[in-house]
């Protein structure tokens, strides 16, 4: 076995030096009756050549998004990643290191993480960023817990237009704690309606959580929400599932947000069938010490040279145990570093141009869909790269038509938004060509004609 260097000869000599005759003697503390008598029921070992061939075959049963026109988004976004980012992120010095417990020999990861923290604060307009959470959904749940801790009251109000899996994760995380989640509806523009909040006693509300762009593809009016919440002294949590939008939309931190968190996958990570992704978490200075997760800080060595260390660790579980701000330990460090590499490679202008291109493609898609009779676009709020459309007949039948034409359509909204009817959330990014969009529109028109007979 190429991964286990031990030779028979060495094994014998090592056992001898331990004064035992077999490996079994080293297992004598495990009750004999419990020890396995036969081999595990697992498939037999494969040579590397066979393994590589076999895995390629499995991969061939999947359809990568870039092999056919794809309009799927809803929390996972298809963006082009420059080769230099992949090359740097694959360097084994970053890949095969552990958590930087020994800073003197982990300065590479630590400095890259400090740079990541800085870039996230630049992108969100916030003051402090942690070194990553598991994913956007978990970061959102942690934000709710932070709001409850900071405000010492139990109610958190969440926009109806929060990604439904985020909502489920939030409910799971808070299910056994003294936390109440209530929902805020959306208005005809597809934006969150704060009205129900105004009839409640603001003192009992810890925070309000708004996703922007939201699950319906609509950009929320964060400035106005931020102003209202500030007056009511309610914490404002902005959830971002499409981090690319931050490059062009007004920074939530400049709209009065107290916590900006969400999913950073768009910043250089492949869609990876859902993970690993990058939960990002940024806060104001006031909330810094209540923030969950690791954070890297600047310091100096005994010679006065600049260096970096994990700091603020007294909030963490290994010191605070059951009083920790969170139980998170392993995070998504490599994903965070990869996103810093992506932001560095793209630069200020690259990020902005790609973000603008996403907006433009979405506007083009919208303009094309408006020409198809029978299709309705229910919300007229501003969009980034996603758009809700309602079809005149069953979405299942349309998905079948798309499949026949080798197209992956959008996200099925019927489960979480039954009142919209046959609704679908379409996503276009810089990876979608004009031709893709035109073809989609043609398939859609033909399908409508067909179903209308």
């Amino acid at each position: 076995m190429q991964y286990i260097p031990l030779t028979e000869n060495e094994c014998r000599q090592m056992l001898e030096s331990l004064g035992v005759s077999s490996i079994d003697d080293l297992l004598s503390d495990i009750p004999a009756a419990k020890r396995l008598k036969q081999a595990l029921n697992l498939p037999v070992a494969m040579s590397e050549q066979n393994l590589a061939r076999f895995m390629k075959r499995l991969a061939s049963f999947d359809t990568p998004h870039d092999s056919i026109p794809c309009f799927m988004g809803a929390g996972s976004y298809r963006h082009f990643v420059p080769a230099a980012v992949r090359a740097m992120a694959a360097r084994s010095e970053f890949v095969t290191a552990y958590t930087p417990y020994q800073p003197e020999i982990s300065q590479g990861s630590l400095q890259a993480m400090f740079e990541y923290q800085t870039m996230m604060t630049q992108l969100t307009g916030m003051q402090v960023s942690n070194a990553s959470m598991y994913d956007g959904a978990m970061a959102t749940a942690e934000a709710a817990l932070l709001a409850v801790r900071a405000k010492r009251c139990q109610t958190v109000m969440v926009s109806r237009a929060l990604n439904p899996s985020y909502r489920t994760v939030l409910d799971t995380y808070t299910s056994n704690l003294d936390v109440t989640i209530t929902e805020l509806p959306v208005n005809s523009k597809g934006q969150t309606d704060l009205t129900p909040l105004l009839s409640l006693d603001a003192k009992n509300i810890a925070g309000v959580m708004i996703q922007s762009p939201n699950m319906l593809g609509v950009i929320e009016d964060l400035e106005s929400i931020g102003r209202q919440l500030k007056q009511l002294k309610i914490l404002f949590v902005v959830v971002v599932t499409e981090a690319m939008s931050l490059a062009i939309l007004k920074a939530p931190g400049h709209c009065g947000a107290d916590i900006v968190c969400g999913e950073g996958q768009s910043l250089g990570l492949p869609v990876n069938f859902g993970g690993p992704y990058l939960g990002f978490f940024t806060v104001t200075d006031e909330l810094m010490r209540r923030m969950p997760g690791r954070v890297v800080g600047l310091t100096q060595d005994t010679e006065g040279r600049c260096g970096f260390v994990n700091t603020l660790s007294t909030r963490e579980q290994h010191i605070r145990r059951d009083k920790a701000t969170s139980n998170i330990c392993t995070n998504q460090a490599l994903c965070a570093i990869t996103s810093a590499m992506y932001m560095t490679a793209m630069g200020q202008r690259g990020l902005r141009n790609v973000a603008l291109m996403n907006m433009k493609k979405a506007a083009y898609l919208k303009s094309k869909l408006e020409t198809v009779s029978g299709v309705s676009i229910p919300f007229d709020g501003p969009a980034f790269n996603e758009l809700t459309v309602v079809l005149p007949a069953s979405l299942d039948s349309f998905q079948k038509a798309l499949a026949e034409h080798g197209i992956i359509g959008g996200y099925d909204l019927r489960c979480s938004w039954p009142e919209l009817g046959q609704a679908m959330l379409l996503c276009v990014t810089e990876t979608n060509t004009r031709e893709d969009i035109d073809r989609f529109t043609v398939v859609l028109s033909e399908w409508i004609q067909e179903v209308r007979g």
Binding site: R289, T314, R315, I319, K323
Partner: protein, 128 residues
């Protein structure tokens, strides 16, 4: 280490010095030494009321964080703001300039339940 005779002490290594109904509270030199370099102290707000035994502050070093429990009940009248810019005084002079809060006691007889300097010294010898 010296333990001022007029101070009272708790098993959680806090000290109390009394002036009328005002009590000044901090952590003992023993506690400060065990903690190592203090890097942060979470202070309560003036006007907050605490029952005896409530957590009123958290003192953090690089390696540990300890909750401070109210030795006696009362309302915070003053917090040691100097700490916020110079946590090192917590290590340099924990039983003097490194005090944490002053409170107006609601029941001054609670003081009598605390350890004297001698009792605390004996207690320390059992802990070590």
């Amino acid at each position: 280490m010296s333990l001022p005779d007029d101070y009272r002490f708790t098993r959680d290594h806090e000290w109390v010095s009394v002036d009328g109904d005002i009590a000044t509270i901090g952590i003992t030199a023993h506690a400060a030494e065990q903690l190592g370099d203090v890097v942060f102290v979470e202070l309560p707000s003036v006007g907050t009321s605490f029952e005896k035994g409530d957590v009123f502050s958290v003192v953090e070093s690089v390696k540990a964080a300890v909750d401070c429990y109210m030795p006696v009940s009362g309302e915070v009248t003053e917090i040691n703001e100097t700490l916020e810019s110079a946590y090192e005084i917590m290590n340099e002079d924990p039983q003097g300039q490194g005090w944490i809060v002053r409170i107006r006691m609601t029941d001054t007889t609670e003081i009598d339940q605390l350890m004297t300097a001698k009792a605390y010294a004996d207690y320390l010898s059992t802990v070590e």
